[in-house]
Symmetry: C2
Subunit: 233 residues, 2 copies
DNA sequence: GTATTATTCAAACACTCGTTTGAAACCAAT
DNA sequence: ATTGGTTTCAAACGAGTGTTTGAATAATAC
């Protein structure tokens, strides 16, 4: 039911309705009239409470995204404190970054699932203001996690790791979208509607991500295959 | 320069312009007036040559997608013929499916790059007619590849594999999008503008995909691991 | 050459979009 | 009861959407 803020009834109702509708139809295709109808509010309420559709979108992302990234940073803080001077194990960093997201993505009641699906598809959203907003919102957490990964994987070329991180984001994006995206692969089988399936999806994605992250480095096609292949230890 | 069909000048110009613009701004945000302006055609030309904006989109996807999937099937035919009764090696199947796509994605001149980026982002497009169209267009090739994979990986539960295939699609999607998507990870480093980088991206993605595909199966999600807290013992 | 078809074009169509307006309604504090 | 500030509401705004029209032009066939 209740989600995050409650200072204004209609304001909160608009945010929740917008989250659902943006998820179902995309940012462009969702109109303010659809949102205010579902929220049982007047069309003018959006501009009154948020200023514009863009501002509504930013506010919508901010309320969840800041919390998400705070959790990630707190998790990383804990890991680094426990590790002392040693680098944190890669698997643990992966779990810190993606685990929080998966947990949020499988929280259907609180609306986290809707949001994570929306967020996943928004990564590839071409609208300029969305890209800028997300880049800014992610700057800190990505810098921290990249540094932790570099320290944990000293023998992996940084450019190589960045690509793998990029690939991992893609895999997570699809994991979260579940049967939402073009579900041609599973023919309807890829659903994790039950809350209890959180652990299953989590375990599946982690195995895959770790496997990809620790895969042997590709032999450079043109030159330098200098680094010896690295096996998961 | 020339791309696929040339029966009508303006028809082809519209398709090419649409591909570029859809890639840059998305399906919804790209207007027919933008397209016809860039194609130096009249606004009515779209409805004359294609019937509607939706039909234009479908035609645009079809002309590339059928070719792409034909290549994939031909590749798989070749592999299965060479293997005889034996199952094809998983790595080869992965290369057949994703290799064709990566090669197409790194073909900047022919427009394949634009298309693959567009296609990648379209997987998560919520518009109903797009989803239906893509599902239909992919049905055959996916059935063939799924069967080949099942045969090649008899010891992997089919549901598990379907998820991993789903994850692989996500990774490929981001690989193709490159720095296009919210490029917060690489901060501009993730670009493969040079044609010579095809091999590098290909090798990188393949290592990652194979690593993920062949990762150890996750332990049965018995009651545990609510948090990613597993201490490194 | 004329007849016929295919293609282009400027203009208009009906509709929806996000946003604005100005008056009503609500709600506390005086 | 009156005030002043906040919130709601119906209605309209200008701009932009995909699509259609009907005449003008180009290309092809007879």
């Amino acid at each position: 039911m209740a989600t995050v803020t409650e200072i204004s009834d209609t304001r909160a109702r608009i945010l929740d309705a917008a989250e659902r509708l943006f998820m179902a139809h995309g940012l462009e295709a969702t109109t303010l009239r659809m949102i205010t109808t579902e929220a049982q509010a007047n069309i003018a309420a959006v501009n009154y409470h948020f200023g514009s559709k863009e501002a509504l979108i930013e506010e919508l992302f901010r309320r969840r995204l800041t919390w998400l990234n705070e959790q990630r940073l707190a998790e990383l803080d804990r890991l680094e404190a426990a590790a002392g001077a040693e680098p944190v194990k890669p698997r643990l960093i992966v779990e810190a970054f993606f685990g929080v997201a998966i947990r949020m993505a499988t929280d259907a009641e609180g609306g986290g699932r809707n949001f994570m699906r929306l967020l996943s598809r928004t990564y590839t959203e071409p609208a300029e203001f969305v890209k800028n907003f997300l880049a800014e919102e992610y700057a800190e957490v990505l810098a921290r996690f990249k540094a932790a990964f570099f320290k944990a994987l000293p023998d992996v070329p940084q450019e190589e790791f960045l690509w793998r991180f990029h690939f991992m984001l893609g895999a997570m994006s699809y994991a979260v979208s579940g049967a939402d995206a073009v579900n041609v692969v599973g023919e309807g089988k890829l659903e994790f509607v039950h809350a209890g399936d959180t652990d299953a999806l989590y375990a599946r994605l982690m195995s895959f991500l770790i496997g990809g992250l620790r895969a042997p480095l590709p032999e450079a096609p043109a030159k330098q295959a200098k680094k010896p292949q690295r096996k998961a230890a």
